[in-house]
């Protein structure tokens, strides 16, 4: 396994899906999907269960064949190429280690089936185990390892043959929180170091945000938004994305007027300016979104604020999470860093400020 740093060439496509559709009997798992994954990137397919993210991964691996469309890997059409001839390897959700082989034999498996000499494959398998810090466990059986250790072995096995693309199907789902955080950092570091394209499937948006170069958020067999983590978080394409990624206040609002660089809306019993042209006609019922950490109770922008009564306060260590009941009855959650300042009292009335560039409008 080479440890030289390979720099990704940002423009080159390594996996391409062109109009791929997958139907199972009466159920359509994937609808005409177009997707380009670039060489060397950490790409994540994110979405709730049943959104088609695992199906997409299985199509790339070759476990399923597309009902329609084309799948290209490294410029080659693999739509009808069987799994074992594709230059991709998978890390399975349950690791799928071979129970009758030792850890070392498991890792050497991809080399064994490629008829690589025993000396070389043992050396490379040991190097791969070394890479995941499992070199001391080569003689064990998978059943003698903990979940986290099995995870590492599965990773070594998938990496030993240096695939062009590594597919990871919720690989951290079975680990406890602390271990998961550790593995996230390690996976990300390893991906940078090896320069291998990672296609990662998860339903955990935090995991996706912290690891990915780009994320495709999926719903009902379609990509809702494909963007960088910051793009998804700060510029959600619609209410679904805003709600799925992170926490969002969704406040009912009515458009009052609309011009080229701002929209005036009526919400929370007052009028607020929302920057940007949203194309909504006056009188339209919309949803206004704002992240809790962008709400402020120190009025920085006195022009754009609304009054509310503190209904609930939650202490979460680094932060304080406060829920306000606004004059029109809507609920606004605000998050403030725990800076040591005195928290407001329950029942206290405060003016909450909203910066116009932090507010977003979505049609209802």
């Amino acid at each position: 396994m080479s440890t030289t740093i390979k720099y990704p060439s940002p423009s080159k496509a390594v996996v391409e899906l062109r109009g791929v559709e997958k139907r199972f009997a009466a159920f359509t798992a994937l609808r005409r999907m177009d997707l380009t994954i670039r060489e060397g990137e950490f790409f994540t397919l994110l979405g709730p269960s049943g959104c088609g993210k695992t199906t997409t991964l299985r199509l790339i691996a070759g476990f399923e064949l597309p009902s329609e469309g084309q799948i290209m890997i490294a410029g080659q059409d693999v739509s009808n190429v069987p799994t074992h001839l594709r230059p991709v390897h998978t890390v399975f959700q349950n690791y799928a280690l071979f129970p009758h082989m030792t850890v070392l034999d498991n890792v050497a498996f991809p080399l064994t089936v490629r008829r690589i000499t025993k000396a070389e494959r043992l050396e490379r398998a040991r190097a791969a185990l070394d890479l995941v810090q499992m070199d001391a466990f080569g003689d064990r059986k998978p059943s003698q390892l903990s979940g986290g250790q099995q995870q590492r072995v599965a990773l070594a096995r998938a990496l030993v043959n240096e695939p062009q693309v590594l597919l990871l199907d919720e690989p951290l789902g079975a680990l406890d929180l602390k271990l998961r955080k550790e593995m996230q950092a390690e996976l990300k570091a390893m991906q940078r170091r090896l320069g291998i394209t990672f296609v990662f499937v998860t339903h955990d948006q935090e995991e996706a945000l912290s690891m990915s170069d780009r994320i495709a958020l999926m719903k009902g067999g379609e990509i809702v938004q494909l963007d960088t983590p910051t793009g998804l978080y700060d510029r959600p394409a619609n209410a679904y994305v805003a709600d799925f990624i992170g926490e969002t206040n969704m406040i009912p609002a009515r458009v009052v007027s609309c011009d080229a660089d701002a929209t005036l809306v009526e919400a929370m019993g007052t009028r607020l300016r929302v920057s940007g042209y949203h194309g909504q006609a006056a009188g339209a019922e919309v949803q206004m979104a704002i992240r809790p950490e962008r709400v402020s109770d120190e009025i920085a922008e006195p022009s754009n604020c609304a009054e509310g009564v503190l209904a609930d306060i939650e202490f979460i260590g680094t932060d304080l999470r406060m829920a306000y009941r606004m004059t029109d009855g809507s609920r606004v959650v605000m998050r403030r860093q725990n800076s040591g300042r005195a928290a407001p009292q329950l029942g206290e009335t405060r003016r909450l400020g909203f910066r116009q560039q932090d507010l977003r409008l979505f049609s209802r």
Partner: protein, 285 residues
């Protein structure tokens, strides 16, 4: 204390019928056979009390050794054929049949509801000169005259495989179904073609079932007598019909008992081998 004793008593009471049944109908006859194998006989075939090793000495003769070899080769061939035919069947039911699997397993069981001798007699009819198979072959023009199939080793093997195929399929099926299919997907994903995935993953993981199947076929095959007589014409004497002949025709019960004990020892040895092999296979996991 009292409750414990009562529970012990209850367990004992519940086990009594089966223990009595086993002791009366299996253990006791076995002891009788064992005792007979050391007994003497008068010229008319009556068993005389006494102790001699002559019955066993007789077994060392060439004739008996050949019978033992015949039995071994018949049981061996039956086992190999059953595994070769039964494995694909079990594989198909376990992985490819889908919702039809329970129905297929039931179909395998149905012949057990018909008397064994009747089923073998059906094969006599099928394989005979005027039988369905010969008629079909002549009719289709593949052969000009009926072939004499009955009384051959092949006919015996057909009957043996027919009789033991279900007991081959079931243990292999039971070993295949719990195998996680993702292991096979992982094999393919890591670069192994279908044949190699089978050879390196599926087959090793199903070995306990294969061993059990081999045992279930081999041990009873050593003792069969009806199939070789009815279908094979009884030309090659094997342990099963030797015992029948010694008991019923030659009325040499002591030697017959000695052969029975020999069969028991051979079968027991087979079971021992199976248990050792199974332990090694299980240790792989």
């Amino acid at each position: 204390m009292r409750r414990e004793r009562r529970e012990q008593l209850q367990t004992g009471l519940m086990l009594t019928p089966s223990v009595l049944l086993l002791a009366l109908f299996i253990l006791l006859p076995l002891c009788v056979v064992f005792a007979y194998s050391f007994a003497l006989r008068d010229p008319y075939g009556a068993v005389l009390p006494g102790f001699t090793l002559d019955n066993y000495k007789e077994l060392v003769q060439g004739v008996y050794l050949r019978v033992l070899m015949n039995s071994f080769s018949l049981a061996g061939m039956t086992t190999v054929l059953c595994l070769l035919i039964g494995y694909p069947v079990a594989y198909f039911i376990a992985f490819k049949a889908g919702r039809a699997a329970p129905a297929l397993l039931l179909l395998l069981l149905i012949p057990f509801w018909i008397n064994f001798l009747i089923r073998i007699s059906a094969w006599v009819v099928l394989l005979g000169r005027g039988g369905l198979i010969n008629k079909g072959l002549v009719f289709s023009g593949l052969i000009d005259e009926p072939i004499g199939m009955l009384g051959t080793v092949a006919a015996t093997l057909v009957g043996m495989v027919y009789a033991f195929l279900p007991v081959t399929v079931f243990p292999i099926y039971a070993a295949l179904t719990p195998i996680d299919r993702r292991l096979m997907e992982a094999g393919a994903d890591l670069g192994a073609g279908p044949a190699e995935t089978f050879w390196r993953i599926t087959l090793p993981l199903s070995l306990p079932g294969v061993l059990a199947a081999a045992l279930f076929v081999f041990v009873p095959s050593m003792g069969v007598f009806a199939i070789p007589v009815l279908l094979g014409g009884g030309k090659d004497i094997i342990l099963g019909n030797l015992i029948v002949q010694l008991f019923l025709e030659f009325r040499n019960i002591p030697v017959g008992a000695a052969v029975s004990i020999l069969l028991l020892v051979v079968s027991g040895f087979g079971i021992l081998l199976y248990m050792r092999a199974l332990r090694r296979v299980e240790a792989m996991k």
